[in-house]
Amino acid sequence: MDTVEKIVEDFASDIAMSPFSSGTRLRDMIRAIRACKTAAEERAVVRRECAEIRAAISEGGGEGIRHRNMAKLMFIHMLGYPTHFGQMECLKLIAAAGYPEKRVGYLGLMLLLDERQEVLMLVTNSLKQDLNHSNQFIVGLALCALGNICSAEMARDLSPEVERLMRSREVNTKKKAALCSVRIVRKVPDLAENFMGLASSLLKEKHHGILISAVQLCTELCKASKDALEYLRKNCIDGLVRILRDVSNSSYAPEYDVAGISDPFLHIRVLKLMHILGQGDADCSEYMNDILAQVATKTESNKNAANAILYECVQTIMGIEATSGLRVLAINILGRFLSNRDNNIRYVALNMLMRAITVDTQAVQRHRTTILECVKDADASIRKRALGLVFLLVNDTNVKPLTKELIDYLDLADPDFKEDLTAKICSIVERFSQEKLWYIDQMIKVLSLAGNHVKDDVWHALVVVISNASELQGYSVRSLYRSLQAFVDQGSLIRVAVWCIGEYGEMLVNNVGMLQLEEPITVTESDAVDAVQLALNRYSTDVTTRAMCLVALLKLSSRFPSTSERIKQIVSKNKENIVLELQQRSIEFSSIIQRHQSIRPSLLERMPALDEASYLVKRASTAQATLAADKPAPTVSPGGLKLPNGAPSSASTDILIDLLSIGSSPSQNGAPAADLSPPAQLGAVVPEATDLLSSLSSSTSVSGTKSAPAVQDMDLLDGLTSNTSVSGHDNYLSITAFQSATLKINFGFKKQPGKPQETTILATFTNLTSSSYTDFVFQAAVPKFIQLRLDPASGNIVPASGDGSVTQGFNVTNNQHGQKPLAMRIRMSYKVNDWNKAKSAIFLPGYSADRTRSLNTHIPKAIDRVRRRGEDRHIGERRQGEERGAATAESEERRAAAAAATESVERRAGRTMTGEE
């Protein structure tokens, strides 16, 4: 036999005689690659080598060349270059007779294989031959390869051979066969019962290699089948206890000794298996108690290997039905670990406490201070673990001191960690707050220290709470004002403060509703305006915040008539703003301040309190319905479609934002709020409709949206079939799922009676432009709880000008029907005159949980869109005569899409949000 290296060296002489002698030696190639100074050079060398290897492959070089080329390919593969072309060469090497060739061939197979089924099929036969080979090393190679790469089919084909080899007399063959079966059982769990008996008999062996393999096989069997678990509980507990006793009592065995501990790896594997067997089985657990106690007490924890065993032992004790004495022992070990100065040990201790907390909360609580210290550790891994643990430790009694500690640390935490920490603090405060004052205080602290890391829904919730707590509004606005003076750069602090100043400005100035603990402050009317103006003009402020500032200023102009003139000036500065949203607000608000003094006070009344309960429900359902991938990016590009006030592109149903731009609250609460007259409120919500856009009547669209038939679509989608209008099975009830200026998509829905969760949808694509679309492809993605089956489309060319259309049927099954609504992301790609185009949209037909509420959420959207359409007209007028470049045409198209979406909403077709790429 020959060593690989030797062979590689020998090539030097081979090359002289070989007709394919263009190649370099392996060593030379590695040297050449190492000598490369830049990545480009390295790529060039690799490309040259690959070309030579390919050439050698196609010319069918001799055994030697092949061998060397494989070694080269492995190196190239390791560097991260594609080497798939070498796979067939591996097969040829495996088929060769000699051991060295096979050795390299199998290694190459395991490294280079990319799970292509053809290659695996081809190799099955060679594997079968080698498994039956007389040389144990070749059998070992084949077992190893099989254990690393085999597919389910191969597992079925070759499992009889592996079973036979497990009975072999060779130690090496036995252990490899046992591990090979781990993969077989994982791929084909049905085969588990064939291996149960064999596995437990292997536990009687002496050789550690066989034992560790057999224990791992048993572990896998327990995971694969219940029967196997029961069988092993009965048959192998004895064996395991004996192994553990032998291994921990054995005298010095140099081969397996690690720092005075005999074979820690075997220890750990046996303990892991005991964990699985003892879980939920009192008899088994009782049987293990003694040996576990022995391991836990006898192992000295001054070496890493010993700690590893203790760690596993504690996990097992926590997992099984252990006696209380044993648990105390385990908790004590944990305490020792936690006070250890080695970071690795502390990390592991935190990890264990995380599991122990379900078993014994009190014991973990005792270590609370140490854990809190770990939250402030310099090491990110430890901090993360500790924070997770603190989060689990919080309860009603300790929430206040813990929150205080965490918030105090928030100031010092490094920026990467702040986001995590902020999210956890907010979650704790929301979950455990018992009184509103405390909640508001803590939230304001968090906003002040880490306002840029607070998620939108968190500060929205704060606003909802403040709007409901009438006795705390004065206090809140004053605290926020103070914080705003001290912390100028915290995004969400500015938003909440500005909103409150706008709403409760007079409470700020007049010190209304002073609490006892509060220090009075003197704020003049113009101070309040100053604060908002400062926020508006701050360079770092984003569009949403600016928009909120403008609303706040408008509100202040009515609360403090004396500042009205100044506010008008501030507002009108934004008339020329390049961001459409700000420009529009500025123009409209100026006109309200200037020309509509008479209706202004009623227009700008305070927002009615939001219903907290319905907000919470909606917040939860939004979190569910919004697919993580579809969350709109926080950046707002100027003039882009993604406007902050609930524009059609935004996927989140952000009620507060709606509320800020147009008061959606009457409809939000279901019935109009009792203390406010609805007409006045309606007037307040659509100021521009009353003057600038006189042609559009918002009230009609509102009442239109409210009308009854809307419910039917919801019912259809959410599954009530028998009593709705669709009793005829072939009737498709159709809605517009997507419409832009260029493309329209209708969805027709059909339900099978008796299968409410299944919906058949027929999509019809219509081209609204004058040039036909080619290569049209429709794709849909659904969340995990929905299954989707797409039928082939009727064609891939959509003719121009709506002259015919393409249809495509598909079937969706909502596995959580009744709990979660249908949600879908659709994408259309096509070519127009050889230009690639693509559009995507999110399709959410409605929520089943609360139909009326989900219906109501459409109303503000509808108003919003009406307003938006008016704005288009507004812009259109101003742009008359201007030459429109391509970019303008593009944005026109977008706006048209928004308008189209409005129409579809008005048609009560469910909620559709469009976005385009």
Binding site: E5, P82, P100, H208, G209, S213, Q216, A308, A380
Partner: protein
């Protein structure tokens, strides 16, 4: 499955050995190696040897200029993996005699053979240095 991958990376972040026990495409592998190496190399000796990355943990240990990175499932015993890394290094030491980066580069296949004897399908098979090296010595002798 236990071990998901074993990576050897030098101080400059160049991969010196890569063995994966689950299938990853070339691009995924390159991205993964880049991310992990960046994360681990940025840590100092005072930090613990465990880094959480995506849905698994990376246990790493540094020997001179070489980093040994082992990706494991979340429920794997991290301290045992540290011990495993040390065993791998000791095995290489015994074979090469004071192993260095160059030994590994120029004898890549041998290191792979050793790893193959030690780990199969992400499970540890053999922990005795003598047993691990026996087939390799046999090959050497017979040549």
């Amino acid at each position: 499955m236990g071990i998901r991958f074993v990576l050897l990376v030098n101080k400059q972040g160049q991969t010196r050995l890569a063995q994966y026990y689950e299938h990853l495409s070339l691009d995924q592998r390159r991205a993964l190696e880049g991310e992990i190496v960046r994360k681990c190399l940025a840590r100092t000796d005072h930090h613990c040897s465990f880094v959480e990355h995506r849905n698994y943990k990376v246990v790493y240990r540094r020997y001179a200029s070489l980093f040994f990175l082992v990706g494991v499932d979340n429920d794997e015993n991290e301290l045992a993996i540290l011990e495993f890394i040390h065993l791998l290094v000791e095995t290489m030491d015994r074979h090469f005699g004071n192993v260095c980066e160059l030994d590994i580069m120029f004898h890549l296949e041998k290191v792979h053979f050793m790893l193959e004897e030690m780990v199969m399908n992400g499970c540890i098979v053999e922990t005795s240095k003598q047993n691990i090296l026996a087939p390799i010595h046999l090959m050497d002798k017979s040549s």
